[in-house]
Subunit: 129 residues, 2 copies
Amino acid sequence: MSSDIRPQIESANAQFVSAFKRGDATAMANIYTAGAQLLPANSDFVRGTAAIRTFWQSVIDRGLKGASVETVELEVHGETAIEVGRYRLLAAGDAVADQGKYIVVWKHDNGKWKLHRDIWTTSQSPPAA
Amino acid sequence: MSSDIRPQIESANAQFVSAFKRGDATAMANIYTAGAQLLPANSDFVRGTAAIRTFWQSVIDRGLKGASVETVELEVHGETAIEVGRYRLLAAGDAVADQGKYIVVWKHDNGKWKLHRDIWTTSQSPPAA
């Protein structure tokens, strides 16, 4: 099973990116498990579908237009996968608003790979004080 | 095996916290695997023992005096474990300099559990602009 998981993860990531580009926070949230958690900077844990939808809606409302993600490393352990990757967040005109790296813990959930734990950090310098 | 892993992870975390309190970045780095990576904010990936030692030395040099960590969730998959937790970074007098959450991917390496991938995000508000 392991050998064909990477395309499945990449396909789920492509769905996420596509939903982001459409500004569809509901579709973004539905790519997560029901018990999923985001661990964003400057926030406590964001738990569950409704809170995750609200989180991504707030990102869209701040003017972010999309993202790109690149899988750097993928480890599969049965129904669980650990992905290490790089991301870019895009503003209008595909300007790079942020770039960084992430770890996602994926779960195989009713035949689909879904994001279960999602944490990322910017690689950009902090804003000047 | 799974049932007795949590105390082993907590013991490794206690060693990390103890080394931090002593200001011993070398001991901190040695609790990571040789191929370990940190994914800190405002930095690219930090890869390997020497770079990890330098990273923690820079944290110590900024006046941080220690840390506390709390395991919230631990999933074990053979020689790999995924920990979700909360941390505090302590300044002089045990003042809380930062607090947040993390994911660590652990590897069972020559009989010891070692940190392999380490990413954390502050839960504090960003500094006022």
